[in-house]
Symmetry: none
Subunit: 206 residues, 4 copies
DNA sequence: TATGAATGAGCTTTCATTCAT
DNA sequence: GATGAATGAAAGCTCATTCAT
């Protein structure tokens, strides 16, 4: 609303975006505010005109990034009628997201988890943000599954365990992303996921 | 050979063990060498008699811990004849390992992943150690599966994809551990894993 | 002359007044120009339209405050005929001044002393301002005493030492203000001063 | 007791002593830890081996200094039989203490008062230390006065108000010290005090 | 072997001040 | 006349590492 506020918000996002790349590359601890300032093309102390602390930069940057991610996931899968296709589109979107190189989302997830877990981490006292995000991802998957059940495409008995199934699917995707990040055989990653999903779909199809 | 070498190795392990707990609790970056020395009951500079750097302590500690872990996994599952039971024992051992409180293995895995991924991390130039470990876990699972195939308990067609299946199973276990670490509903963790494994076994049983 | 000049002066005083409260509350060093600007309801850089530096704000603010103080002291005591009563009115005015809560004059005096004494303090190179003020207070007391002598109410021999006596009285008032500021038994403050003054008056009365 | 502790304590005192001079000269805020380190002939970070913060250096330094001051005052006046002489010795010691150039005690008192008064000052949450000190000085004076009363040298009626009298005497000494620090006519300082004390003694002598 | 002591390099953060608009 | 934006300089503090003993 206020005409003054927008440029400030805009710049906040610019700084946060620059920071996100560094955090993904080197991690939170190893990224200095000076590096963030350099990457954003401003002076070190200027950063503090927009954020009260390094921690806040991280939280803001991650928040922006995750919100955008969730938004895209929802958008991509929203209007598709066929549940199997919808599930496939969801998986394709996940794979696409994980394929991005800059900033590498797998590294970011690792960093976020770290900062959520460790005492004194940037998200340690804000787990709720991370939990919310995970919950929303689960809800998205659960929604697709229940939609499939109601359209008599997926087996009716999965309705009862839909939340467990969604969590397990996301846990797998988390884990396999991490695995290939460390193993670095990126080319096999998609095959591997496809193989998993094939079994997954088979198991829930009527 | 040298009679002095043995006590040196012993003490290395003592220090590494003390360090491991701190690394798991607070993370690598937030653990200072002084804290490690205190925990090991020695002077700060004495630590440098046994390790050339903080990084080396981490690598050594993690190495010890993982080697022990793998050894235990192999031991537990080695001599069991029934493939289904063997798989269940494997899963039970994994769950038991993940249940340990001190040092929390889930946090350690997160920290290890972090240090493997991030530029300048302690394992960044030693990914091979972490990869080896993952490979050995995969081999263990693959071994169980192939054993089941050859005993005509598991479907023969899984033999072709045994490596993919093993990787996927471990990825899931990784991911679900992380999930519950962040969501903190520990009590549901075992249920969730059991639910997954039930579907998994059903899918591979003849 | 210039019609613009007057509003400028007005605003200077407004800013200085706002600053004075902050200086009294938190001290010179701990008060930032931003806080002063906020308190004055203007932008930070606008402050620099009216003052060339933070130091100048302090000097101006203190100057205004002290000038007003002296003026009031003189006004209150000017027209009283009876020397004893005049002295009492003077003391009563001092006590009243020291009782003010916002801005606390004792804290201000402490801050002024500090800034006068310490190398690089705001008044370090302008001691003359503070000295002038002290001199004028002394002169006021001396005037009261000499008036009493000439009216044959105070002992004639004090005339010779009138300046010493005045300085000592003011030194005492300074010191006792500070004492009670630190000891925080404000309620006893007036009793203590009255006790002192009683002795003082007895000693100089014929 | 512990043989390790003593050298540490010794060095603490050395650093504190070096710091005291700087604090007296430039004030607490304007003295940087680096300057303290330089003055003590050690590296900046070495200071933090001995003190956890700059504030603690100040508190320690002031504490040492004040304890020594009180000790000397007590020593000087302890064994004197004649109450008038004892009072004079007390005053002489005060004057001597205030005459010291390095570190200037008057400046230090000003700085201590400042740090006691201002929110967030080094002594703000430790007023009790400063109050204790003031109380001990008062007790010393009160002791001298009561001794004089019991020896029938000082008027018996002062016994009732001994505490008030002591406070007033010290307030005066505080104030006059400050006065001459600002006015810088040091040479007149002693005359002025002597003049005051002469009147003071006359008033209490039988 | 063991360590107390020392430190340099680097971090996050603050703030008085400048300047284009 | 007023200010939002930017910043250089400096502060307090941490910590892995070195070294003499």
């Amino acid at each position: 609303m206020s005409p003054k506020r927008y440029p400030k918000k805009e710049k906040c996002n610019e700084i946060a975006a620059a920071a996100l790349h560094l955090f993904a590359e080197k991690g939170y601890a190893a990224t200095s505010v000076e590096q963030i300032a350099d990457a954003a093309g401003i002076g070190k102390s200027t950063v503090y005109e927009y954020f009260p602390s390094k921690e806040e930069i991280f939280v803001h940057a991650v928040n922006n990034w995750i919100m955008d991610l969730i938004h895209r996931m929802v958008e991509q899968t929203r209007s598709i009628e066929n549940p199997v296709q919808r599930l496939n589109i969801f998986i394709r979107t996940v794979k696409e997201v994980l394929k991005v190189q800059e900033p590498d989302p797998k590294k970011l997830f690792a960093e976020i988890d770290q900062q959520t877990l460790m005492e004194g981490g940037a998200f340690y006292k804000r787990r709720h943000i991370i939990r919310d995000m995970r919950t929303r991802f689960c809800d998205l998957v659960a929604d697709i599954l229940l939609d499939g059940v109601s359209k008599r495409v997926f087996r009716p008995e999965i309705a009862r365990d839909v939340s467990k199934i969604a969590i397990n699917l996301l846990a797998y995707l988390d884990g396999i992303g991490m695995h290939y990040l460390i193993m670095e055989e990126y080319q096999e990653f998609e095959d591997q996921v496809d193989f998993y999903i094939k079994g997954f779909v088979e198991a829930i199809l009527i």
